[in-house]
Each structure stands twice: as structure tokens, then as C-alpha cells.
């Protein structure tokens, strides 16, 4: 079916700003692929370049075995769901879904039939005669999806597919979206700034910053082995603790306290190196008694997360955050020891911010 390959893709705006700056990525057939990054990182520009809504300045884009770099959007075999869904307000649901077929000069009868079939598949039966304004947000999204898949595209592009839904509905739609993608087996690229969404939905994630790819990998890879401090800080529902430190005597000095070297960094860094020590709040433990390799700190703030709490502890100027079970909740002002898991900790080069191990 359709593999998407970009080769040194560049999108330069008038004035020299590069929205996408030399992206090389191959998206496998049938893959659910996420473009993740903060606003302005170029993820939407890359998606729109694949769609053909932005002209490509340099590089090449292949969909399937065709070079589509200079093709019109309509000739690329891609469908896209926009962030605002872009349902035509003057057409009812059935006409909206059937619109791509109308352009392809399919007759009125078959058009209606396809619209009904696709609509039923997305539980839109009974809503076919309504106008978009008479639908809920979730229903509008399903109509937009139905319109996108009505023509059996080779590639489905989704621009922030869940951002316009209420928090509760978002979870539901997330599962629904994943099921639909599995069912259709269509190569799907979606853009999001929500790392949780990317982790939950995608087979692979591309993390972007300033128009460049930072890391491409499975959700597990980008979560546990971020290639640099940017990815480390961006992925995770609570940001990773990143502390400027120094190595000494085969250990890392985190705010003065000696902490064992992360497992992956053993033998890859000498003494006296300037490093950034990273540990996810979920992987830190709390001890009320002194422990070897623990970091003594004082609890300053406690935030309730439901079944767990987010504890902020200070050691001098250094703040460490850890997620603890609700049963182990300390009180503000308590002193104790933050205990890292060497297997889960990471070390980054302080200068290049790249992962050491």
C-alpha cells in the first residue's frame, strides 16, 4: 500500500524561516505515526507538506512508489482531518461524507450508498440529514473521519485530532481512533502537542523541535531512552528531573550528594565530566531513613494526582520531583532521602545535551 518517505525535506517560508528543516523519515505501511512537539516546532508544517497544502522547498516526498513532491494535493491519495474538522456548514452529514466522491464524479446513487455505509461504520446512522452545527463535537469528528476515509485513501493525516474535544470525550475518542486505524490498516500520520496522546496512540513517535527531528522511535523508546534533554523533558506526564551535575569517584554528584552512575552510563563517562543527571519522578523513591546513594532533601510542596501524589523536594536550590503512592505521602517540611533507580536513571552530556547512557 503506502510507505511515506521524506528525503531531506525542507519547507522554507518567504523571509527565510524554515518550518521544516531537513527531515528524513520513513513511515511504514499501515503504521500509526505521531509527530510530536511544542507549538511552532514544524510538526503541522510537515503534515501539511505531506498533504500538499504547503509546497516543498527542497528535498523529496514519496508516497507508495510514487514521487509526489510536486503533485497537487488531490493527486496524492491522501485524506486529512483538520483540527477544526472543516465540515461544510451548508451540507448535511451525508453530503459532507460523500463530497470527495462528488469530486470524483461518482453518481448520486453510489454516493449515497457509500456515505451510508461509512457513516454506519462510524455510528453516524440517524444523523445523516443533520447539518454540522447540529452535531456534538465527538459526532463532528466522526463525520470528518468518515469523509476522510470514504475514498479509501492510502494515507490518512490527522491534525491535532483530539484537541477540540472535552477531556472526558478525548479518552473515548482516543480508543476509538486507534481501533479505526487498526481496522482500516491505513498509514496514518497525526500531529499532536500532547505527549500522552502520542504515547497512547502511536506505533512510532517523531519528536520535533525547531523544524528538525529530535528522535524517532516507539513510545517505549522515546519514554525510556530519550536521545537528549529536550526529548527527556518533553515526554512524560510529569517532566523528568534534569539536574546539572558533575561526575566524581565513579558517581554523579547531584546537588552535592553522590548518586550511583546510571546503569547505561557505566564506563562511558570519566570523572570530572559536566553532565545532566535525569530521573523520571515515577522512578524515584522516598525514604525516611538514610540510604546509601540517596539524596537528602526537604519536602516543599505536595500535589494530589488521585491515587498518587507529586512531591516536590528541595535540596538547596535544586528541586526534585517524585511521584509517590498515596499511602507513602509525606508532609511539607519533612526531611528524607530521594532514592533513584540506577537502571532507570539517565546521564546527558551537559554541553551537547545528548544522551550518554
Amino acid at each position: 500500500m503506502a510507505v511515506i518517505t521524506t528525503t531531506a525535506l525542507v519547507k522554507e517560508y518567504p523571509g527565510g524561516v524554515r518550518g521544516v528543516d531537513g527531515v528524513d523519515v520513513t513511515i511504514a505501511d499501515g503504521e500509526f505515526f505521531a509527530l510530536l512537539g511544542p507549538s511552532g516546532c514544524g510538526k503541522t508544517t510537515l503534515l501539511r507538506s505531506i498533504a500538499g497544502l504547503e509546497s516543498i522547498t527542497e528535498g523529496a516526498l514519496q508516497i507508495g512508489d510514487r514521487d509526489v513532491t510536486d503533485l497537487e494535493p488531490g493527486e496524492r491519495g491522501v485524506a486529512m482531518v483538520f483540527q477544526d474538522y472543516a465540515l461544510f456548514p451548508h451540507m448535511d452529514v451525508a453530503d459532507n461524507i460523500a463530497y470527495p466522491l462528488k469530486i470524483k464524479r461518482v453518481g448520486k446513487g453510489p454516493r449515497r450508498q457509500t456515505a451510508t455505509e461509512v457513516g454506519d461504520g462510524l455510528s453516524l446512522d440517524g444523523l445523516m440529514q443533520r447539518r454540522p452545527a447540529q452535531l456534538s463535537g465527538g459526532q463532528q469528528q466522526r463525520v470528518a473521519l468518515a469523509r476522510a476515509v470514504a475514498t479509501r485513501p492510502e494515507v490518512l493525516l490527522l491534525d491535532e485530532p483530539l484537541s477540540n474535544l472535552d477531556a472526558r470525550l478525548r479518552l473515548e475518542a482516543r480508543t476509538f481512533l486507534k481501533e479505526l486505524q487498526r481496522e482500516l490498516g491505513v498509514t496514518t500520520v497525526f500531529v499532536t502537542h500532547d505527549q500522552a496522546e502520542a504515547l497512547a496512540l502511536a506505533d512510532r513517535i517523531a519528536v520535533m523541535k525547531a523544524g528538525r527531528l529530535q528522535q524517532v522511535g516507539t513510545p517505549r523508546e522515546v519514554f525510556s531512552r530519550p536521545v537528549n534533554t529536550f526529548v527527556a523533558g518533553f515526554i512524560g506526564s510529569t517532566p523528568m528531573n534534569l539536574v546539572e551535575s558533575e561526575t566524581a569517584d565513579g558517581a554523579v554528584r547531584v546537588a552535592g550528594a553522590p548518586v550511583p552512575l546510571p546503569a547505561g552510563a557505566q564506563g562511558r563517562v570519566g570523572d570530572g565530566a559536566k553532565v545532566v543527571w535525569g530521573a523520571r519522578p515515577e522512578y524515584l523513591k522516598w525514604s525516611t531513613t538514610p540510604v546509601e546513594g540517596g539524596i537528602e532533601a526537604e519536602v516543599s510542596v505536595i500535589e494530589n494526582l488521585g491515587a498518587s501524589v507529586l512531591v516536590s523536594a528541595h535540596r538547596g536550590e535544586t528541586r526534585l520531583q517524585l511521584v509517590l503512592d498515596e499511602d507513602d505521602e509525606p508532609a511539607p517540611g519533612d526531611r528524607g532521602w530521594v532514592l533513584p533507580t540506577p537502571r532507570r536513571s539517565l546521564l546527558f552530556d551537559s554541553e551537547t545535551t545528548d544522551l550518554i547512557g
Partner: protein, 300 residues
């Protein structure tokens, strides 16, 4: 008024401020009511000033002997029969219709195409161009350009034709129309068109399937506004149409005199009413069908 000072004494009055008592409650009430009455009377005069011509327009046509004053009519429908008796009256209404609808069609077609392009394509100096056009447009159909317009239309052989009038009138209203429609199209999200584009729609298909239907309230407004402009325009058709057969109603009215050289009020009043009805009817019809909505910056 008594002339007694109502304000507290000026600064030169010595002693505490209590020296000047506030106006009594009764006097304040009187002042309040007096100002209300004066206000209502003034408003009434303004209202009468504007309402009298309207009243004349709806009563005079039904009066057996209309004058220039408003009065209870001596009911009759005979005045309307005079319209039919006039050789040019009905034809002039048809001419007005041709001019109005012709200009509207031309303006809507060209205006929406131009506005769409101006709204979607980045052109350096676009806003300046639009403002310049808007300013110049008042000259095209204005008094200042009477002579050159007449010469131009004569030279290209369109004198005494409806086409010539339509072209000049369309030229006059187009800048304003483009200005309004561009603003309207700016407010239509681009994702509608991009969506259609992704499905392979051509620019013309995008325009007819997506842009025109979503811009319909704006187009309806512009259509009505154009017809109203043309319907009431006197100068351009007066200059360019030289025979009574081709003149529109607004110009023909100018010739309604009796043999004695007096304005033929019986014909004039009835014709005026017939003349104004289509515009009002069109307003209600279009409003009902398409609705004049403003797509402002306020989320509805």
C-alpha cells in the same frame, strides 16, 4: 423660570457651603418633567420631519386630488390607471429592472471572484490598492466624471444602450462590493477550501461548492445593496440614455408634468409608490431566504 440662582453660590460667598440650600424636591421634579417633555417634543418634530414624506407617499397615490400636503385622502385607485395611460411608465420600470439585475449579476460575478482572490492571495500593497479603489469609485459615477464618462461611452458606441449604463454603474459600485466581500471572505476559515482541495476539487469547484455557499449572506447583502444603488441612480442613466423608451423609472419621473407645466402629482405619487415597492419587497424576500447576518469578531 424665576431667575433665582439654582446653583450653590460661587466661591466668593463666605462661610460654610450650607448657606445655599439645594433646590427643593418639588422644583427638581418640575425640572425633570419639563426636560422630558421638551425632549419628547423635539424628537416628535424630528420624527415628523422624516415621516411626512413617507406619509405623503402612502396617502397621496390614493387621493383623487393629491397636493403637496399630507391629508386624509379622498380614496380612489384612479391614479394608478394613469400609470398605464403613460406611454413610457411601465417600460421604464422594466428598464430599471434590467439595469438593476444586470448590474447586480455583473457585480456579483466580478466582485466575488476579485474578492476571493484578494482575500486568499498575498499581494504587496493590497490594502492600499483597495482603499485607493474605494476612493476613486466615488469619482467614476460621480458628477466630476460626467463629461469624460459621456465621451467614453459615446466613443465605444454604447451610448443609449442599457449595457453602457450597466458597465458604468458596475464600475462605480464594484470597489465597495469588493471591499465588503473581501472582508467577508477573510472570515471564512481556509480549512474549508483546503479540505476540498485535498479531495481534488479545482479552484472553480472550490469557489462554487464551498466559498460561495458559505459567503452567501455577504453575497445576498451585496446583491440587494447593488440593486438599491442602481434603482435610485439618476445621473448616469440620465446622461447615457437619450430616448424616453430606454430610460429607467428614476429618470422618467423627471418628465411627469401636465400640459400646464405643473408637476403631475396624481401620476407622480402613484408612480413613486410603485417605484419603491420592489426595493422593499426585495429586502424582505432576500432577508427571509438568506438572512443578513454579520460575521463579526464575536463568537456566536
Amino acid at each position: 423660570m424665576t431667575g433665582e440662582p439654582l446653583l450653590p453660590q460661587a466661591a466668593d460667598a463666605p462661610g460654610p457651603r450650607t448657606a445655599a440650600p439645594p433646590p427643593s424636591l418639588g422644583r427638581r421634579m418640575v425640572r425633570h418633567y419639563l426636560s422630558r417633555v421638551l425632549f419628547v417634543v423635539a424628537m416628535g418634530l424630528v420624527l415628523a420631519f422624516f415621516a411626512l414624506p413617507m406619509l405623503w407617499l402612502v396617502t397621496a397615490p390614493f387621493d383623487a386630488d393629491p397636493s403637496l400636503t399630507v391629508g386624509w385622502p379622498d380614496w380612489t385607485l384612479a391614479n394608478f390607471a394613469r400609470i398605464a395611460e403613460n406611454r413610457y411608465a411601465l417600460g421604464s420600470l422594466r428598464n430599471s429592472l434590467v439595469l438593476g439585475l444586470g448590474t447586480m449579476a455583473l457585480v456579483l460575478t466580478l466582485g466575488s471572484l476579485a474578492a476571493y482572490a484578494l482575500s486568499r492571495v498575498r499581494i504587496p500593497g493590497r490594502d492600499g490598492l483597495l482603499y485607493a479603489l474605494l476612493l476613486l469609485s466615488s469619482i467614476v459615477t460621480g458628477t466630476a466624471a460626467m463629461v469624460p464618462t459621456f465621451q467614453l461611452i459615446t466613443q465605444i458606441g454604447l451610448i443609449n444602450t442599457q449595457i453602457g449604463v450597466i458597465l458604468v454603474l458596475a464600475g462605480g459600485v464594484l470597489p465597495t462590493v469588493i471591499f465588503i466581500l473581501k472582508d467577508f471572505m477573510d472570515s471564512i476559515p481556509k480549512s474549508y477550501e483546503e479540505s476540498a482541495r485535498l479531495y481534488g476539487a479545482s479552484p472553480l469547484q472550490i469557489l462554487t461548492h464551498v466559498v460561495v455557499p458559505t459567503a452567501r449572506p455577504g453575497l445576498a447583502f451585496v446583491a440587494v445593496w447593488t440593486v438599491v444603488q442602481v434603482w435610485g441612480n439618476f445621473l448616469v442613466p440620465f446622461l447615457l440614455l437619450r430616448t424616453p423608451e430606454s430610460q429607467p423609472a428614476a429618470v422618467l419621473m423627471y418628465t411627469f408634468y401636465t400640459e400646464g407645466g405643473q408637476p403631475d402629482l396624481r401620476l407622480l405619487s402613484a408612480f413613486s409608490l410603485v417605484f419603491s415597492v420592489p426595493v422593499i419587497a426585495m429586502y424582505f424576500l432576500v432577508n427571509r431566504r438568506y438572512g443578513f447576518r454579520f460575521h463579526g469578531g464575536i463568537k456566536s
